[in-house]
Amino acid sequence: MAMMSGAQMLVHTLEDLGVEYLFGYPGGAVLDIYDALHDSKKIRHVLGRHEQGVAHAADGYARVTGKVGVCLVTSGPGATNTVTAIATAYMDSVPLVVITGQVGTPLIGSDAFQEVDTIGITRPIVKHSYLCQKATDIPKYLRQAFYLASTGRPGPVVVDVPKDCVRPSVKFEYPEPDPQGVRMRSYNPTLQGHRGQIRRAAKMLAEAKRPVLMLGGGVIASGASDKLQEIAKLFRLPVTSTLMGLGAYPGSDPQFLGMLGMHGTYEANLAMDKADLVLAFGVRFDDRVTNNLQKFCPAAKIVHTDIDPASISKTVNADIPIVGDAGIVAGQFLEAFDELKLKRDDQALDEWWGHIAKWKATNCLAYDHDPKLIKPQEVIEAVYKATKGDAVVVTDVGQHQMFAAQYWKFDQPRLFLSSGGLGTMGYGFPAALGAWVGERQKPIVLFTGDGSFQMNIQELSTCKQFHIPLKIFILDNHTLGMVRQWQMMFYRGRISWTDLNDNPDFVAVAKAYGHEGIYVEKPSELEGAVAKALSLKDKLVICDVRCDTDAKVLPMQQGGGSMSDMFMAED
């Protein structure tokens, strides 16, 4: 029986749980934990430069690997600085365990130095949270936290650890993990779908004349891509995906119509609008996807599979609700097709694909080139071409994010990391460095904006310390592009505080931090600059690309309209 302090138990439990990387930032309340960490041979610590960056990095690591991302911060401001990152992970269902220091239990509630009610502040943005009361709570709660974060609908879990629970002088017997794993009577996610519902839905699919397969982030979380591709091929289904679902179905496959929703493609949104059956997996019908709910898919029956029952019939009423894991349910669908000997209706599908071909022919993502001015879309296309799409793409939030989603073809899951639900500017850069920690085989490309990048620019120092060779492309338009786009389109062109004309010299910033920087202004230089940036394999390179300030993200759905009411590039 090993005797350990709370701090040693914390480190030991993380080791037991297979944690290889811990993203963190030390401080007063976690000094004892950091001291115990000093002895660990298994856990490698990545020191960020701000707790928001630390937690986003753990998020990026989690999204790219599918493992739980873990971070450790101190009490008070350390904890509050992670709040945006926790909310980001919550909205996008990312498995994250956030360990926060806390003042000693006798001081809790006394407004002590660096005390904050972390559990209270984070309550609405976590899947669950724990406040340890004694040292032996730590292993128990951490194991539960990992279990909760990574099962069911994944999400962030906070474990708040008061300083007296980790005191090095007091040792306890280390509670070994239960060989049967974590069990909780109040938490039992449903994985198998209801057989009868699935058979009904399978028949409906075989009878559908205008079906669409709609995939979301849940497909990636579940690892359901292969089975859903099988379904798509079997029934020749047009496939669309939400922002979070990009990569769930190969982007370069001819059956893929592109992303749907506010900045979705014409063909994806038209297909949804005219569909008679929407087979949705792992989505939650967010308002950026549905546009006006009253006008959403008027002709379609909705078959909605999700692991979170609360996501079903929350906004869009499901005709056939199926609660379960996307991959398991997809497998059940395949069985049902076999059992019921269901065949697709090729005649109807030919006609349906005929309509879709016409919508595709509008070529809704075409844009005008300018010999003097780089269009932001060109940057995405140039990097895609140079990497042959074999890269992890991380974005910040804004126009560049939508351009990346529209113009890059994601052929596999976990290659696109972006803050979808919360829309967190400043997410991309730290998430990209976290992604590199988890994925060393592929280049990590960050598309960011001059606005977003400056929200967590301090992590350039982290990248220097750990030799993280990100390829950063700033689509630099000297403005908060997306907000400006709305001001131009809906606020009579009144540009209110969106100009960013006093940006730093990003090349000089890169160099000041010990990295490489390239400035590009002319379209003719773009390809060369991209090639050079990618060729510097061991270096972080900031490629500051001066882009057209007036470029707009199109198509764009008209607010209050149906899926098919869209502003197009030629309008």
């Binding site: 109040s186 029952p309 929350k314």
Partner: protein, 167 residues
């Protein structure tokens, strides 16, 4: 639509605040709430009275289930088996002079309420019944007498017969 929701959840610190927080965060209404241990000391029972339509009630139930501490949720609906629901009311009322004191006593007899505390100038009345009956009693008292203070417990309810909400 008036709905009583009964919730069984782990008797842990912060569990109640998660339930209350969920209601405020998602814009659901709470008319009243009671919380106490259940027959199993490791489990608490919370009873919430809310106004919501069928669709919203479905969402509330699902969102409550999503809370990791929550074990079981049930809307106490007046289906065929039915529900027993009660609330407790205390009213402190001015009772000066024989006439007033007699009349209050009479009213209490009619409603089967009790006088549980007496001073030369005050009565405290206790009344246990369903919430609508409590409203009626309170109306009758306050129309005739000076009510100083009212305290209501919030509603609690239980299914009739062998239909139960337990673990």
């Amino acid at each position: 639509m008036r709905q009583i929701i009964s919730i069984l959840l782990e008797n842990e610190t912060g569990a109640l605040s998660r339930v209350v927080g969920l209601f405020s965060q998602r814009g659901y209404n709470i008319e009243n709430i009671t919380a106490a241990p259940s027959e199993d000391p490791s489990i608490s029972r919370i009873t919430i009275l809310t106004q919501s339509d069928k669709m919203e009630l479905g969402q509330i139930t699902k969102q409550l289930y999503k809370l990791v501490n929550v074990i079981k949720v049930s809307a106490l609906e007046d289906d065929s088996t039915g529900v027993v629901e009660r609330e407790i009311l205390f009213v402190k009322v001015q009772a000066i002079g024989h006439t007033a004191r007699d009349e209050i006593k009479n009213l209490c007899d009619i409603f089967k309420a009790e006088i549980v505390d007496v001073t030369p100038e005050l009565y405290i009345l206790q009344y246990v019944n369903s919430s609508p009956e409590i409203d009626r009693f309170l109306k009758a008292i306050s129309e005739q007498f000076d009510v100083i203070e009212t305290v209501r417990s919030g509603v609690c309810g239980i299914f009739r017969g062998d239909h139960s909400l337990h673990v």
